[in-house]
Each structure stands twice: as C-alpha cells, then as structure tokens.
Amino acid sequence: MILAIVPVLLITLLIGARGVAAMRTTSDFLVASRRISPTVNAAAVSGEYLSAASFLGIAGLVVKDGIGSLWYAVGFAAGYVAMLTLVAAPMRRTGALTVPDFAEARLGSPGLRKLSAVVVLVIGYLYLVPQFTAAGQVLGVVSGSPYWVGVVIAGAAVSITLALGGMRAATYVQAFQFVLKLALFIVPAIWLVLQVGPDTRRDALTPVEFSRFDAVTRVQFQLDTELTVTEPTRVTTADGERELAPGEYAVEGGQTWVFPAGADVPRVGAAGPPGGPDWARPLLDPGGHPVLATWSVLVATVLGTMGLPHILIRFHTSPDGRGARRTAAITVGMLGVFYLFPAVYGLLGAVLLPELYLSGGTDTVVVALPARVDGSWVGTMFTALLTAGAFAAFLATSLGLLLAVSGALSHDLVPSTLRRLRFTPLVAALGVVLLALPAARVDVGVLVTSAFAVAASTFCPLLVLGIWWRRLTAHGAIVGMVTGLIASAGVIGVDLFLGAPPGLAAIVLGQPALWSVPLAFATMVLVSLRGRPPAWASAAMLRLHLDESEPRPR
C-alpha cells in the first residue's frame, strides 16, 4: 500500500526539481513570478487549503461526533467569501508577501512585524502538527508500520521538496494536487455509494445507535483507550478469551480485541456512540449548547481563513488585486464541490465502521471504507487511491505551511540570504516531526480549527482594520494582537494540557473564537482611538483600494 504514495511523492519531487532551474532570487523562491491566471491560482489555493483535515478529518469527526461536524466544511468554504470581500484585492496591492510584510507596509512598525512573525509560527505549528499526525496514522493503517515511521517519512518528503523547488514548484504542485485530490475523493465516494447496496444506503440515512455489535468485530486499538463496559461481555484478546464484568477497562494501544456478535458496545469517553439521537442532530454539541458551539466553530473558520499565512502568500501569485479577488471567488466554487463529499464518507463510515469510535481511529475512516465494502482487489485499489489522495492533501498543505513558517523565521525574525531560506524548511520540518510524535491522540479537525481560531483572533482584526480603517495605529495593532493571541492560543493550550471542563466552559475554552475575536477587535479599536496615526496613514490605507491599472504614483 506504500506503493500508492510513491507516485504522489515522485511527481511532487519532479515538479519541485524542475523549479530549481528558474529560481534566482528570494522573491522568485517565494512567489513564482506572479504570472498565473485566476483559475489556476484558485486551483492552487484550493489544493493548498484542502489538507488532511478536509480529506480525512471531517469524515472522521462525522463518525465520532455526528452530522454537526459538517459545519466545519461549511466554515472552511465560507472563509473565502470573507476573504474575497475584505482582504484579497487590497492585500495584494500592498505588495507585501506576508502578514509581517503587511504590518510593516501599512503601519511602519518593526515591532509589529516581529510579533506577526511569531503569530505565523504559532498558527503554522498548530496547523502542521495535525497534518503530520494524520499522515502517520494513515500510513499506520494501510501498511501496519508504526506511527513514528509515517511521521518521519512525511517530514522527509515535505522538506526535500521545499528545499529543492520552493514556491515555484509549490504553485504547480498545488494546482496539480487539487485536481488529483478532487478526483481521488469524488470517484471512490461514488463507487462506495453504488457498491454498498440499497440496505446500507437506507441505514446510513436512518441512523440507529451503535449499541450492539451486529457481527463478530475486530477492534484494533490505535491508542491507549479507557472503555466502560455496562454488561458482562466475552472478548477474545491476544491472551485468549476473557469475560469482562461491568466496569472500567484500560486498553493499551496496539492491542486487538474481538467482540462477539450481539455483545453490548462499551462506552468511550463522554461522547455518545455513532447513530444516537444526539449524533443525528445537525449541530455541534460538545457541552449542551449546540447553537453557541456551532457559531464558535463558524466564526473561527470563516474569519480565520483570511489570516492563514500559507493561503495569503498564495494570493500574491495573482498579477494584481483584481486577479486576487477573482481567485478568491473561484475558490469558493471549487471548495464547494469538494465539500459535498465528506458527508458521504462520514455517513457510510458510521454505518459500516462504527467500531472506529472505540479504537480512536476515526480519522482513518476514509481510507478504511473501501476494504470494508469490497474485500477483492477493487477495494484494495480504491484504498490505494484514497491513501494517495490523503497523502497528497497532507503534502500540499504542509508544503505551503512550512514555506510560510520558514519565511517568517528567516525573513522576519533573523535577517536572511537565499541560501539560508532554502535550508530553513528542513529545520522547521524537523521541529514539526518532533512535536507530532507525541501528539497521536489529537483530532486532526479539532486542532486545525484551533489554528483557525488563533488566525481569526490575531491576523483577521489586523488585516480588516488595517485595510478598512484609517485610524488604526501600530500600538493598537500590537496590543490587540497580543490580547487575541492570549485569548485564543493561550486558552486552547490550557484546554489541551489541563483537559476540557464540562458544559459551557468547554466551548469557552475549547472554541474561544466566539469571544476572542470580538475582544481582539475591540482592544485594537479602543487602543487605536487613544493614539494618533501618523500623517501618511490615510494614504497608506487609501492606496490599497485603487485599481493598479490606473496610472498612479508609486
């Protein structure tokens, strides 16, 4: 099954290697000469954006948490409407490559530039770690290799590609990978729907709570898991058969337990099993406040999109502001097509592979489905195709993110030369691998949404106010961004390391966007109003709204 990934890697490396010849300056390395049509660029944006969180994570969350998880996909796509409306064209016109560049161009503050670079690192790592986690898990499922092998292979592939080709390579790689991912996601989905037969299709649409095993079921525990058994159950483990009395059981990762048909399904954690009445509700509901929880995810994803460093830099490959705006508009349509399909995998997975809920491997539901539906070579082939797609998704996003992170490191935090920039990705990738190794347990989709929440609470107010409000001051921007960073990243960190409290606090801490974004905006506005922007601030803002095709002084 590893063979499925090799072609993706080879093509990526090939396109990457071809880019080297044309690369001359740092600016070539970063933005590929800016001669790319809006459609190609939109494909590249979508290719970069559709990460393992979209390809694997959403379907996995549907199996685990229910239909409400589809709101993540809605937010991921709707972010580009906000991007189109507020940021795309003016941001392109600043000529700034990254948010740190923008901060210095608009507000003339080197301190703000450094702070922005630090935020790029925070967002980049929050986004990169789950990508590598997903790659490690998928490789583990399809090849049986240990988790760390997958993570290390992933890190090597990404950093070599970047060091060889830079972004010129990444632009073509991304556009190619969007088409690849779209095909590799849609075709297997249609095949699955046709293959499963009318009974399974009906079951998928009329969910029944997963409370008894329909057949003898092997559960491969990926990670250490706490099970709650509610009635006496006979299971077969590596040590032979044993009778479980009701109570709590700790299962070590790597074990395989076989449950007999008709046995009661043990509980895992606080969440209900797939198919229950809460599961079927189309709202996110971690703590009894479904509307607030759903809104919070939507605010984070919609407003966070415009602050994602790897996406922003991609808009600079448009020739002008108008091209950047068209790119954003086309991207909405392209993503809309892709996001119709995670629901298919999620619904079929909840019916056919509900035991993933026990084993903690819901993020692998997409690649596990074909083999469950068809045991012959056809199923194996579709597993191979989906694995290739998932790896492409991982690769595409990681390439862009590592570029953004290494750009922030070598451009903004340390003065740089081209040579240094080519090797920074290696260092950055090594850091991600080291962080991903102990992070096997996190949900890909959830951690990625944290990255969105941080972006929404820091860069979103900076960009929106910087572009539309002439009275923004550097001081206000700094105070607002620090507030937003603490309110989002700090709170998410507390939630991750100390565990989520129940009820309303789970939303307040786990998905802080609903309050941290308004807080960051308010801080930025209030602190700015107390200061005075420099005399040129008005011109610095207004020129962002002038079409470049008009003759104007530079």
């Binding site: 740092t26 490559l97 080197p110 649409l205 939507l298 119709l340 740089s416 539309w468 008009e550």
Partner: protein, 124 residues
C-alpha cells in the same frame, strides 16, 4: 514620488528587509496625488458599504441556519429523497448560496473600481 521603472517583483518591504535596512518607518511614506486620493476615498466608501452588506448576508446565513435547525427539530424528520432536510441544510444547501454570494460581491467590487462605466479600461 518615484519615477516609473521596471522592477523585480519583490515588495518594497521585502527588499528593505533583504538589504538589512531594518529601520522603523517605511523608506518613503506612502503618498497619493490629490485626485487619486479623492477617487480612492470614493471607492473606499462604496466598497466598505458593499462589503458590510455581503458580510451581513453571510452572517445571516451562517448564524441563522444553526439557529433555525436548533429551533425547528421537526426538520430532522422531514425527508427529501429519503434524506432528512436538516442534514441537507448543512451538507448541501450552504455551498450554492456561498457561490452566489461570492459572484455577486465580485461583480459589485469590480464595477466599483471602474472609473466610468464603459470607460477605456485596459483588461489584462
């Protein structure tokens, strides 16, 4: 005001950073000719108004839909082609609406930038 010249596609800020001249203020503070500034002010005001209406519609869609689904649980039992309507409202309905919204906003934003309708705008 600098004269027009062929430049590499590096941003001024990046060149500044690369040259190691990491001074506080931008090399030359941004400056607009009075006519341009007037035009920019007009465009900015109108674009801001358009942007706010689109954002209001986006918010109405994305915040209103969960509220509706929470308020009317009966939508879970109404089925269209066998699929609960409330599921369709999350999985399918938002995407065409988002595309329409994006198209509408793109049209209006581009029209605003054109100085005169049908003027001699060179398209690239």
């Amino acid at each position: 005001m600098r004269q027009q010249r062929r430049v590499t596609v590096t941003s001024p800020q990046t060149r500044l950073a690369l040259a190691g001249r990491r001074s506080g203020a931008p090399a030359a503070p941004p400056h607009l000719a009075p006519a341009d500034a007037e035009r920019a002010r007009r465009i900015h005001r109108r674009q801001l108004r358009y942007a706010l209406t689109v954002l209001a519609m986006l918010a109405a869609l994305l915040l209103g839909l969960p509220l509706l689904l929470a308020a009317v649980p009966a939508l879970d039992t109404v089925r269209l082609a066998g699929i609960p309507v409330s599921w369709l409202a999350v999985a399918v309905l938002p995407y065409p609406l988002l595309v329409l919204l994006a198209r509408w906003q793109l049209r209006r934003a581009e029209r605003t930038e054109r100085p005169e309708p049908g003027g001699s705008q060179v398209s690239r």
